[in-house]
Symmetry: C2
Subunit: 163 residues, 2 copies
């Protein structure tokens, strides 16, 4: 997930003014995992921006609202995180990339399904915005595995989630 | 400011489960600046935790509600950020440390009074909590000046605010 230095994954109006290097890193990670799970709103925004389906992987869209699949084999639409995991397991994926937004992130971490977190911290602070995790009751300790600079002012923090 | 990896400076109940190394860094920074400005709630919590006044500097408490000064010369109580800056200027301070909470941070950054930001990122994520900046309308680009490790999993990000 890309975010502002104070933890917002988008402006209030859903805009994501992130760096090219972050975008490249995101796409690369999606390719290496071979899949990505996203929520309905992230799907709608990716479609709107011409970014859907994300390249190099199976795009799994989690939505309680039924959505027609106009994307052929590159996308699957499911109604729950359990179904998303089931489908990816049945295809023998060992690594699953959870790609937001905040609601989906919260569902996955609250269910104990997040092993590692990559935070691409962009050099900007917003007064308000869409938080990394939609507000639900959880707390997880992390272990810092790596810090990487994506460009002069953007860093990637790689954490393990302690369970 | 110390915060969770997703931008919360405290749990919802005001608890701040930060590391000893972060606390040391905070106190050191207060000493080097020779001063700290904090808001009413941060003052009340610091008193409750036996941490007030912060050592090594003049403690300036910003509160619209009048508070009795029981702390002698180590503390000053003011009713606005302008008054806080005026007092510190009159004492020839060149560097002023803004020490939270979120409301005070937002007032200062929105007024264009923040030149640099130090974020001590602790290895924890909260589902919800007290945000680094209380929600107001602003956005500032930053420039990353330095990354420092305070311990194995806690990092300090030092940013310049682009104006």
């Amino acid at each position: 997930m890309a975010m502002s230095a104070n933890g917002f994954i988008a402006r209030d109006n859903d805009e994501t003014p992130w760096s090219d290097e972050e975008w490249e890193s995101f796409k690369q990670m999606c390719k290496s995992a071979g899949n990505i799970i996203i929520g309905r709103r992230t799907y709608e925004l990716a479609v709107q921006d011409g970014n859907f389906p994300f390249e190099g992987g199976l795009n799994v869209v989690c939505s309680s609202k039924q959505i027609e699949n106009k994307w052929g084999k590159s996308a699957v639409f499911v109604s729950s995180q359990e179904e998303a995991i089931e489908i990816l397991s049945s295809k023998n994926f060992k690594t699953v990339m959870v790609g937001g937004g905040g609601n989906l992130n919260s569902q996955f971490i609250k269910a104990g399904l997040v092993d590692e977190i990559y935070l691409d911290v962009e050099p900007v602070v917003f007064g308000s915005g869409i938080p990394l995790f939609a507000p639900v009751d959880f707390e997880h300790k992390l272990e810092l595995l790596e810090i990487k600079k994506l460009n002069n002012s953007t860093i990637q923090l790689h954490y393990k989630v302690i369970k």
